[in-house]
Subunit: 463 residues, 2 copies
C-alpha cells in the first residue's frame, strides 16, 4: 500500500491517491447487479466508512438499492454519519429497523445529533428509540442548543480532573475509568462548580513526573467556547489558534462538552463549500448525487431573479435604439465592455468575500481596501481602454469609436471593482452572508453600467 503510494506520488491530479478507485466502484456495482452478495461484502470490507459513504453517494439510485439489499446489514453508524443528507434519508428508510438500531448505538452522542438533526420527525423518533436511555437523554439535551451551534457540534464525553490533582492521581484515574472517549487529547481541569479552568495535554501528562501538580503543566492555548457560538466561528477559532480540542461551556460557564479539531475541520470544509456555491447562485445543499429535477429546482430561483435583473440591461439598451439604428456596429461592440466588467466585478467580489470569511477585512481596513479597488479598477480600466480603444479605432477607421470604447471601459472597470467590494461589505454590515447572491447583483451592475456608458457616450460623441 505504502509502496503503491510512493510510486504514484506527486503525479498531479489525474491519479487520485486517496478516495475511491473508480475500478473498485465498477466492480462493486457489477457484483451487486449480479446479486453476488458475498462478493459485494468482500469488496467493501476493507473500505473506510467515509469511502463507503462516498460510494453510496456516487452510484445511481438503482445501484444503491442493489448494494443496500445485499450489504445493508453490515452498515455501521459511521457510514450513516458520513453520508450526504439527501442520500442519508433514503438509506435510513431502506434499512431494516434492527440494523439501523444496531448502527446508531455505536455512535458518540455528537455523531447521533449530527445524524438526526435534519431528519424528518418519524425517522428521528425511530433512531432516538433505538438508543439506551442515557444516550437518548444526552442527544435530546444537545438538540436543545440552536442549529449550527457549538452545542450541537460538541461531544458530551469529556475527561476532567479536579484542579488540585497531581499527574499520578490523574493517570491512576484514567487507568481505572472504563468509559473513556475513543479520542481525547486533553484532560480538562475543573473547579468544584464544574467550570473549566485550564487543560493539560496528554503528552505533558505522560512526560511529567507523577508528583507534578496539574496546574503547573497547563497549556497557554486554553480557550473555552460557548455552546451558543456559531459553528463557523468555532472552525475559525480552531484554524486561527491551532486548537486541537476546546471545552464547551453553557450560559453559566459550566463545562458541558468538548469540540475536537476533526469536527472543526469538517465545518471549515462545509463553510467553504457554502461560500463557493452561494457565490455562484447555487443552493448550498446541492450535491453531486441529486437527480435532475432536484438540481433544476435548486438553481431556478437565481435564474429567474437574473431574468429580471437582465431586463434592466434590456431597458437601458432600448433607450438607445435610435443610436444603435444609426450605427449597428455598436450592437456588436457593446457586450465587450459589459462582459469585461463582469469579470472584473467577479474578481473583486471573490477577493472580498474570501477576506470577509477569513476575518481579514473589517471596519479597520475597509476604507483602504475600497480605495485600493478603486485605484486597481482605474489602472486596469486604463490598460484595457488602451488595447480596446486602439483596436476599435483601427478596425472601424474612426478614432471616436476608440474613444467611446475606451472611456466606457474605464468607467465600467471602476464600477466593477467598487461594486465587487461594496456589495459584500454592505451585505455583511446588514448581518447577511456576503456570499449570498452577490454574484448576480454585481454582474447586473456591470452589465447596466457597461451598456449605459457605452451607448450614452456613443450618442454624445458619435451622433
Amino acid at each position: 500500500m505504502a509502496d503503491e503510494r510512493t510510486e504514484r506520488a506527486d503525479d498531479g491530479r489525474e491519479e487520485e491517491d486517496y478516495g475511491l478507485d473508480p475500478d473498485l466502484i465498477a466492480g462493486i456495482v457489477a457484483a451487486a447487479a449480479e446479486g453476488d452478495g458475498a462478493r459485494v461484502t468482500a469488496l467493501m470490507e476493507p473500505l473506510h466508512a467515509a469511502d463507503i459513504a462516498d460510494l453510496l453517494e456516487q452510484v445511481s439510485p438503482a445501484e444503491r438499492a442493489d448494494i443496500l439489499r445485499l450489504w445493508g446489514h453490515e452498515i455501521d453508524g459511521e457510514v450513516l454519519s458520513e453520508l450526504a443528507e439527501s442520500i442519508r434519508e433514503e438509506v435510513i428508510a431502506a434499512l431494516p429497523r434492527d440494523v439501523l438500531a444496531e448502527a446508531v448505538r455505536e455512535l458518540d452522542s455528537d455523531d447521533v445529533v449530527d445524524l438526526i438533526e435534519d431528519l424528518e420527525e418519524p425517522q428521528q423518533e425511530q433512531i432516538l428509540k433505538a438508543l439506551d436511555a442515557g444516550d437518548r437523554a444526552a442527544v435530546q439535551q444537545s438538540l436543545t442548543w440552536p442549529e449550527y451551534s457549538a452545542g450541537r457540534l460538541m461531544q458530551r464525553e469529556v475527561v476532567t480532573a479536579p484542579e488540585h490533582w497531581t499527574v499520578g492521581e490523574t493517570i491512576d484515574f484514567l487507568r481505572r475509568d472504563q468509559e473513556l472517549p475513543d479520542q481525547f487529547y486533553h484532560v480538562i481541569l475543573v473547579d468544584p462548580g464544574h467550570h473549566p479552568i485550564g487543560y493539560v495535554t496528554l503528552g505533558k501528562l505522560l512526560s511529567s513526573p507523577r508528583t507534578a501538580q496539574l496546574t503547573a503543566i497547563t497549556e497557554d492555548s486554553f480557550r473555552t467556547i460557548s455552546a451558543r457560538q456559531e459553528e463557523g466561528d468555532v472552525a475559525y477559532a480552531f484554524n486561527q489558534y491551532h486548537l486541537i480540542s476546546a471545552p464547551v461551556v453553557d450560559d453559566d460557564d459550566r463545562l458541558v462538552g468538548v469540540i475536537t479539531i476533526d469536527d472543526a475541520m469538517s465545518v471549515l470544509d462545509e463553510e467553504h463549500e457554502e461560500d463557493m456555491l452561494r457565490l455562484a447562485g447555487v443552493n448550498d445543499e446541492s450535491h453531486v448525487s441529486d437527480g435532475p429535477l432536484t438540481t433544476a429546482r435548486q438553481r431556478l430561483p437565481w435564474l429567474v431573479i437574473n431574468l429580471f435583473t437582465a431586463s434592466l440591461s434590456a431597458i437601458v439598451i432600448s433607450r438607445f435604439e435610435h443610436t444603435i439604428a444609426s450605427l449597428v456596429a455598436l450592437a456588436a461592440l457593446m457586450p465587450i465592455v459589459a462582459s469585461t466588467g463582469g469579470i472584473a466585478g467577479t474578481q473583486s467580489l471573490a477577493v472580498a468575500v474570501r477576506a470577509l470569511a477569513a476575518r481579514d477585512l473589517n471596519s479597520s481596513n475597509a476604507r483602504r481596501v475600497v480605495r485600493r479597488e478603486l485605484f486597481a479598477g482605474l489602472l486596469n480600466g486604463l490598460g484595457l481602454a488602451l488595447i480596446l480603444g486602439s483596436a476599435g479605432a483601427l478596425i472601424f477607421g474612426d478614432i471616436r469609436i476608440g474613444v467611446v470604447l475606451g472611456i466606457a471601459m474605464i468607467a465600467n472597470q471602476i464600477v466593477a471593482a467598487l461594486g465587487g467590494v461594496l456589495v459584500p461589505l454592505t451585505l455583511d454590515k446588514l448581518g447577511l452572508d456576503p456570499a449570498l447572491a452577490s454574484g448576480t447583483f454585481v454582474t447586473t451592475m456591470t452589465d447596466v453600467m457597461g451598456f449605459f456608458a457605452f451607448l450614452g457616450l456613443a450618442t454624445v460623441i458619435l451622433l
Copy 2:
C-alpha cells in the same frame, strides 16, 4: 472573556467573536502614530501570534513601519510564520538581525521551512545562518522534498517506540526524554529498519496497564503518507479519514516525520481559497493587504484574455448586423439570453469544481452527472423560456419574438449546464486544476451561444 463571548453568542456575523477587535487595532495604530512604544507593547502583549500577524497585515504600510519600529523587538517566530507571504518579506527586511535570529530559533523545523521556502535567496541565507547546525541541517533536508509536498509540510520531531515495548517502558522513556515535541498525539511503533508499523494514541497509553504490549493497543486508523505526496491530497486524507496525525515515510518507507491535523487544516483552508479565487480569475496569491498596483497586475491577465474572448461575441453579433438593423429591439433583448446562460454556466461550474475537489465526481459517475446537467438545463430552459417567451410576445405584440426568445433560452441553458460540467472535467482529465479559469471559458461559451442562437433564430423566423 468567556462571559463576554456568552453574551454575544449566536448574534450572527456582524459581531465577530474571534479575531481582532477593530477598536483595538485603531488603539494600537493611534499609539504607534504618537510614538508611544510602551502603550503599543502593552496593547499587543495579550494577543495571540495569529492575531498579531493579522494586525500587521491589515494596517497600512506606514502604520506597519511605525508598529515594527516600536514593537518589533518583541516579535516571535510564530508571528512570522503566520504572516501572509507578501507582508512577511517586508517585515523580515525591517527587523534587526539579532531579533530575527532569536525569533526563528524558537520555531519547529516545519515552521522554519514554511517561513523560508518562498523567501528570496539572501533572506533565506540570513535565516538559515541564525539556526544552530542541527536545525539548519533538518531544514535543508526538508527543502529537498518537492514544493507543496508532505515532506515540506511535516515536522521532523517524532516520538517513536520499538514495536516490542510495553506501555510501562514507553511511559518511562517519555518521562526521561527531554526533547519531546511541543505537541504530539501518537507514539509511532517502528521496526528495526525504522519503518512505521502502527501507532498508539496517548489516551490508550495512559489508560492501559503498564504491562500491556504496544502492539496490542494500536489504532485501526493508521496510515502512512509518502513525503512526495501533494499537500492537497494530504489535507483530503485527514478530512476524509478523521486523522489526527500521520507518519510520513521516504521512498524506502522509512519514517522521516509526522504531519498533524492543524497543518492539514491550514492546507485545506488554503486550497479552498485557491479554488475560489482561481474560479473567479484571480491570482491565488492575492491578499487583502496588497496595494493597488499589485492588485491591478494580478487581475489584468484574465481581463485581457476576456477582452479577446468577448471579441468572439462581437464577431458573432456583427454577422447579424442586417438582422439587427431590420429590428433594433433585438439588440436590447439579446443580452437577456446571454446573461441568464452565464449564471446557469457559473452554477453548474461551481458544483462541478467543488465535486472534483471533494473527490465526489470521478469517472464512475461523470456520465450520470453530465446527463443530469443536461436534463436540469433542459428543464430550467423550458421554465425560463415560458416566462421570457410570454413576456416578449406580450410586450412586443408578436408571438414570433416570444418563440425566438424561448428557443434561444432553452438552447443556451443546455449549453451552459453542459459547459459548466464538461470544461472542468476536461481540465481535470488533462491534469490541470479544474478551477483554473474555467469561469472565463464557460461565460464565453454561453455568451457566444446566447447571441448566436437568438440572432440566428431571429433571422430565420422574424425576417
